[in-house]
Amino acid sequence: MKAVPPKRAPAHIVEPRLDEARIEQMWESIANAVDAQSSQPAHSSRSSHSPAPVRSWSVGVYALVAAVALLVVFGVVFLRRPAANPIAGLIVETHEAGQSIALPDGSALAIAPRTRLRVVAAGADDVRVRLEHGTITCDVVPARARRFVVEAGATEVEVKGTRFDVEVGDAVTGTSPSVAVRVERGAVEVRDGERASVANLKSGESWASHVVAPAPLREPPSAAPPPAPEPAPPPEPAPAISGTNRRSAPSPSARELFEQADAAQLDGHPAEAAASFDALRRKYPSDARAGLASYQLARIRLRKLGDPRGAAEAFSFALAHDPSGAFREDAAAGLVEALERAGDGPGCRRAKTDFLARHPSSPLAASVGARCNDP
């Protein structure tokens, strides 16, 4: 007769595989992170294995969340079905904050701060947007039966399934504004005022109508104390535009910067990762990844680089760029910790009060509540 196994609690039956190699790898990652934060010398008991960086699952997760959060949350304007065409003629103007528009076919427009555009048409077979000034990033769902055109000055950009930026700057010569187009993926055709094709751009390529100086980096909204000196951003590429209607070398797109940062993080180079995240959020503040990049930057500054003041600045930027996003709670808690570690008592208490008011039932509430109390 077969022996009956002893009764065991369910928890003892659901156990993960946990061998020494896995434990050792986890400890290495933890020790590295703790070392970086505490600036204590490593104890002699640390093993000499090469450090295994903490896996950055959050990067991918947050990137997707941030992309969607921007589309869904940032004051989303849902355009109605083509039949209800009241949006034709709609003017969207952003000020300090960006905005996103989700089109009925799933395409999306991310509108940078200080941008003005007019929806000329939003029909089933024709979507046409006139960009009057500023920058938009278009993420267009492929659709054979529908044209998707962005008018920028006298220039037209027509796409079929791609992601690209169009920027209309100040007039450079006469009354014609400068227009720049960057393609992140897919392909677009750029036409001039005579509707003649002037460029066919593929992924990573850019085009501009005039020679322009590189735009100054936009400063993020400041909701935190002035940041400490930050890691230098990666060297900017040479100005991408060298003449009218000339295709130029691509500058790193937001996606490329994000991937660079991710790779650097995985390779155990937090300073490089921080620089790339920082460059991304400053260069592409309206990109869907900007908030996430700033959040990741803040974590690196806080956990790896021992820069709590810089972390506080980056957490604030992340909160400003993802006000209702999936990582808002973590960023708000991180801000409290960063301000505490930076020695900013009043700021820490304000951030704590804000956190507890917004997230009273958060699992982080207890730890946040214990921070920045008066001695």
Binding site: A11, P16, M26, S45, Y62, P363
Partner: protein
């Protein structure tokens, strides 16, 4: 009673290790880690229902714990304090994954009981676990966590409240909802089984 008796060297208690760790002793931190990593990993595994994300939850949790040891008031309660951190970290991860799945950006594979329950588990326990994990992906994160803590971890309500940081009333309410859905799921499964039996 027979058996081998192994005499161990006197071990440092958690309280003593926490005190040493607070002063920056990495050796003490490592001892705390090795002492509690199985608990933390197991809890994360059962809350998440999958193996892939354990490292992230465990690592993040220990980093949070070690960098805020000065907040731990009852030194001897390191384990339960760590468990609450693991729980909070897992909840955050579940929420994020859920959001991404809802938006269609990632596919969250259903929890497969066969993958997480040891092969030699008694049938009755396996059946109970199957019922729980069949519905966890359909529950809100809080209800999911409360259900697992109650049905799998077999914690008392006040222990769940302490571990999640939620009030006892909140825990009761969420558990009642989760139990309701569990009962519905079990009924549906029974009905399906009867229908299959009748078809034969």
């Amino acid at each position: 009673m027979t058996g081998t008796v192994v005499r161990l060297e006197a071990q440092l208690t958690d309280s003593e290790l926490v005190l040493r760790a607070r002063s920056g002793d990495m050796g003490a931190k490592e001892m705390l880690f090795r002492r509690h990593v199985a608990m933390a990993s197991g809890l994360a595994f059962r809350l998440l229902g999958r193996d892939a994300d354990i490292e992230d939850v465990v690592q993040d949790s220990f980093v949070v714990a070690f960098t805020s040891l000065d907040k731990l008031e009852r030194l001897q309660a390191f384990a339960s304090w760590l468990a609450s951190i693991v729980t909070g970290t897992a909840i955050s991860l579940i929420r994020r994954r859920r959001l991404l799945s809802r938006l269609g950006f990632v596919r969250v594979d259903p929890v497969l009981v066969e993958n997480i329950v040891s092969a030699d588990a008694p049938a009755d326990v396996t059946a109970e676990l199957r019922a729980v994990y069949r519905i966890v992906d359909r529950l809100p994160a809080e209800e999911r966590v409360v259900l697992v803590l109650r049905r799998v971890e077999q914690l008392a309500l006040d222990e769940i409240a302490e571990q999640t940081g939620w009030s006892l009333a909140t825990v009761k309410r969420k558990l009642a909802r989760a139990d309701e859905r569990l009962a519905e799921a079990v009924s549906e499964e029974d009905a399906r089984a009867r229908a299959v039996e009748e078809d034969r």
